[in-house]
């Protein structure tokens, strides 16, 4: 096993979207999951995103901005029934072809409803370099401005 079993870092980031207009019951939102690896090249990650309150539905999962993570991650079909996704992706590219610093590792497409602001949580479970060494990084969930 290349990586430790323990959860490496738990950085929670609460989405702070603008309140939904009361005259629009259903809205679509785009949330970017941004990782800051500092100077470490990111080869693998696993993270959990969950929506609370029962008014948010995940309607699409998109890959990241870097070619190494552009493929859309897989999700656990059981977890998504509770609007929770565990995303995981990896790349076997050499270190100089992996992202460093701040990078968008995935984008979630959401549908929200109701007048209350939606709530969600993103949590990093683990991350590693190409050699399997665990790395610390910061994970942020950031909603894009409405199109």
């Amino acid at each position: 096993m290349l990586l430790a079993l323990v959860q490496l870092l738990a950085v929670c980031s609460l989405g702070q979207p603008a309140p939904a207009p009361t005259n629009q019951v259903v809205r679509f939102r785009t949330v970017d999951l941004l990782a800051d690896t500092q100077a470490e090249p990111l080869a693998a990650y696993q993270l959990e995103f969950s929506a609370q309150g029962g008014q948010t539905k995940i309607v699409g999962i998109e890959g990241g901005e870097h070619p190494a993570f552009r493929s859309p991650p897989y999700y656990d079909p059981k977890a998504i029934q509770h609007e929770r996704v565990i995303l995981a992706a990896f790349s076997t590219a050499p270190a100089d072809q992996l992202p460093t610093g701040k990078t968008r590792v995935a984008t979630l497409h959401l549908q929200t409803s109701g007048a209350d602001p939606p709530r969600w949580t993103a949590r990093l479970m683990t991350a590693a370099t190409v050699s399997g060494r665990k790395i610390h990084l910061t994970l942020t969930a950031q909603e894009r401005k409405s199109p």
Partner: protein, 702 residues
Amino acid sequence: MSTARLDPRKRPAPGRGAAGLLLIGALLAVLLAGCMSSVSQRGISPITAHGFGRAGVRAQPALPGSLPSIEEELWVVARAEPASPPAEADAPGSGELVTKTGAGETVPLPLEHTAVRATISGYIAAVQVTQQFRNPYDGKIEAIYVFPLPHNAAVDGFVMTIGERRIRGIIRERSEAEAIYQAAKSQGYVASLLTQERPNIFTQAVANLEPGHPIDVTLTYFHTLAYDDGWYEFVFPTVVGPRFNPPGSTAGIGAVARGQPGRSGQRTEVQYLRPGERSGHDLALEVHLDAGVALEEISCRTHTIAQQRHEPGRATVTLSPADHIPNRDFVLRYRVAGDRIKSDFLAHREERGGYFTLMLYPPQSLAGLSRQPLELVFVLDCSGSMSGQPLAQAKAAIQRALRRLEPSDTFQIVRFSNEASQLGPSPLPASPENVHRGLAYLAELESEGGTMMINGIKAALDFPHDPARLRFVTFLTDGYIGNEVQILDAIRQRLGPARIFSFGVGSAVNRYLLEHMAKAGRGAVAYLGLRTDAAEVMDRFFDRIAHPALTDLTIDWGDLRVTDVFPRQLPDLFVGRPVILAGRFDGTGPATLRVSGLAGGQPTTFAIPITLAEAEPARRALPAVWARLKIADLADQAVLDPDHELVGAVRQVALDYGLMSAYTAFVAVDTSRRTAGTEATTVPVAVPVPEGVKYRTTVGEE
């Protein structure tokens, strides 16, 4: 009536990158083993540019068979009041497309290309299908495409590609997915929705497709291959044949002419191109075959292929670019070296537990037993869709069968279209005179009218059983009906001691119906393509029924703790025809399974030694294959007993394993931008009638 005018695009569309790569989730699971929660895994390799090359005709000057020139016009007319029961505003076919293509015969439609990449390992195929949509008009559209997949496909992946961006679709309850799609569509977001109309018919909808913009939708599935008399068979269907629906039905699959939506009155409709018309939609197909043992022969009678042998057991097969029109099933067969195939047990363990498939091959001892006298009932579909070559093929097969009957046998010939009629009031002894009479009767039969298959079933099964003979009912049909459930229900209720052998006749038959008729009838299915020797197919049938089947099967699993085996009712084993079972297990091997049954009334037992070797890549398909079989089993029960618990059970299995079903659907929305403009016009993707099927006798026009 409101009218909108759409012009073909006047500028070439921006290029698109290579089709999407799917990372193999399994490799990540290796990296992150231990701290992963069940992330879905697939054994799909990256797509090669070769396999997904585009036709590249767009930039060419107008030629016969190419897209129309930019000066040509295209009109879209939205009817407010369809003649038939009105379709919902957003239902497939709710717009009407009328094209004026001048002298050209090519109809601009939003589906350009389908690229198929299959990887076969043993008897399990992992298939990736990419549908490439592009809007050829100057207004925003919603594209609707009704298309077939193998009836046993476990569809577990869905990705929408917009330029370089790939968005993985989410499996949801069907009504929920439909509501998400409708909301996204009405708010101007690009979205796609995949729903299942039948186990082998699906609808792809792509909303807010902007002019000139390409969107790919890639879906992935697993399925087990059929095995028949020494040949494994991989089938990729390319077109839904025109279905007949009994009067009064609304839940069928309707067949209408291009530009005439709503006229069938059915919930789902397929629009067909008229004779001489052609869409730009073409097909590329690539099969990577790893048989596991040395390959003896690869054969494809339906299409022109190129094959490359890499090692004794491995080959790559590609569809010839000259054979790219999607108007018939692609059927690839291969045979492996060795005298006979042995039963094969595949196992896979993961965090959810153990899964297995068992290909159960009949014991060789069956071939040493002789059959009893038969009562053979030939039921011939003489409806309009069988007109021409299909009927000729079916007649040739029956002629061959009549000549192979033994004097102790009896036979009957039933024909049906709108009504059913038969050779005589009761089966005739197979004397030379009666066989001659049967051949003469057969020669006079013609095809016309609808496919009231229920009348054929009643005529074939509703007469007293002759206790001295085994009654074998052979149905020869293309299966082009929309009321499959009614037919299967009728078979189950009327079968008695008879056995049903279904023969699919044609180039793109309804394999779901034919397989399930044979399953409900405790018989077997065979296919009689338009390029197949009918006598050869019928000879194989006679070889099969020349020996008794192994019936009343039971399996002693030994030390393995086995649960949830599907199909729940073990089918009979016929010579040359193994069956595939799937189940859950716990325990360790090696072990020996003991299969018992009755052959010709005598108890027979044979042993199958198994090992529980660790997973090979293809074995990651086993949970999906098992779940798909469970869904099929529950759905079969729901036909007989349509209570909500069974429906809920199907839905839950499908959601838990991320699979398509009648009650689940994939939806993907690109929320990152809204498209400009007003409401999109719905454009159904019209398809050709299958090869050998006559437009006039199936679709017709008012």
